[in-house]
Subunit: 201 residues, 2 copies
């Protein structure tokens, strides 16, 4: 087996581990699969809006904050980050704005886990491409999820199906492949019959 | 100026050039900014659904095909690609499924340009992170666009505003930084006032 084949398999395993950790509601597991500051120590970053990227803030509205006490989270310590704050992970949940840095990203997962009783991902259309120390994964996330029961009962809330596509970028680290970026978005046009659909961009 | 600073600036220029080419409806300009097969010759790829990734096909419904005669497009020549078809670019337009390979991706831009009389991108929240030969760019695309006039007149169709976030992945090549992946998605929850929003994934 060549190194290239092994890389592709390792990336696929890391991608699977990420979704399995989400299914288990395993916050530490999800956290471990994202790059930390040390992993990106040699990277260079530019941010147009450094003053709003500090810990404890969410740059764009829509996400209630969570008091997440995670001492291992470099985003949760220190004051506002300078312009050359060091490289950062980024994450886009379906319909959400961009979240940047471990503070924002991990808080969003804590929020989602707190509001999700059940979630299952059926991954299809998986593609993995490894170039050097970076890997690009695209897949379709066929999601079945349920929130808390409406009346504090023991039962699940109604199950909802979602069709989402994701682009996941991984970096090679001494501890294996870790997520640098996750971008997931809803698939809104599916039929294939409607030639009048004209999404832009 | 350090090499790292130069890299970040070069990536930002490539990112700007991409959106300016889209604004001009410059198909060749957009095409030149995407990686081609030679750029990713050393990469390793795995595809779960190789039989549907061949040229001239769109794996998932929703996109009418365009007869795009582009001899420089490696995706437009030859038969169905084998499982180890070589690495590929990928692209997700807002609300669309994943498009893979230069054939699918460039056809989608030809389709969009054919249906767009006017488009302008106001980029905000730009972040650039360079690690080795890969760069990750996130930005908000504030889009103003218009389709063809409804009655074949000289005027534009109605202008539409869209709030979209994008994750763009670039690779370093001898000809500069080129796009490996573009993932754009609509921002659906903006108000920041509604604590009942519970996006999943």
């Amino acid at each position: 087996m060549t190194r290239a084949q092994t890389d592709v398999e390792q990336v696929e395993l890391a991608n699977t581990a990420f979704y399995e950790a989400l299914e288990r509601g395993d916050f530490d597991g999800v956290s471990d699969l994202w790059l930390d500051a040390a992993d990106l120590a040699d990277a260079a970053t530019y941010s147009e809006t450094p003053e709003t990227g500090g810990p404890g803030t969410v740059r764009e509205g829509g996400l209630p904050e969570i008091d997440l006490d995670d001492p291992a989270d470099p985003g949760s310590t220190g004051g506002p980050e300078p312009a050359s704050e060091g490289p950062a992970i980024s994450c886009v949940h379906p319909g959400w704005p961009v979240l940047t840095g471990r503070g924002e990203v991990l808080r969003s997962y804590a929020l989602i886990m707190a509001n999700t009783e059940y979630i299952q991902f059926f991954l299809t259309d998986l593609r993995v491409c490894v170039a050097g120390d970076t890997a690009l994964v695209t897949c379709t996330e066929n999601i079945l999820s349920g929130g808390p029961a409406p009346q504090d009962g023991d039962e699940l809330g109604p199950l909802v199906g979602q069709l989402v596509v994701a682009t996941n970028v991984f970096r090679r680290t001494p501890d294996g492949w870790k997520l640098w970026s996750h971008h997931a978005s809803p698939v809104l046009a599916e039929t294939g019959d409607d030639e009048d659909e004209e999404p832009s961009s």
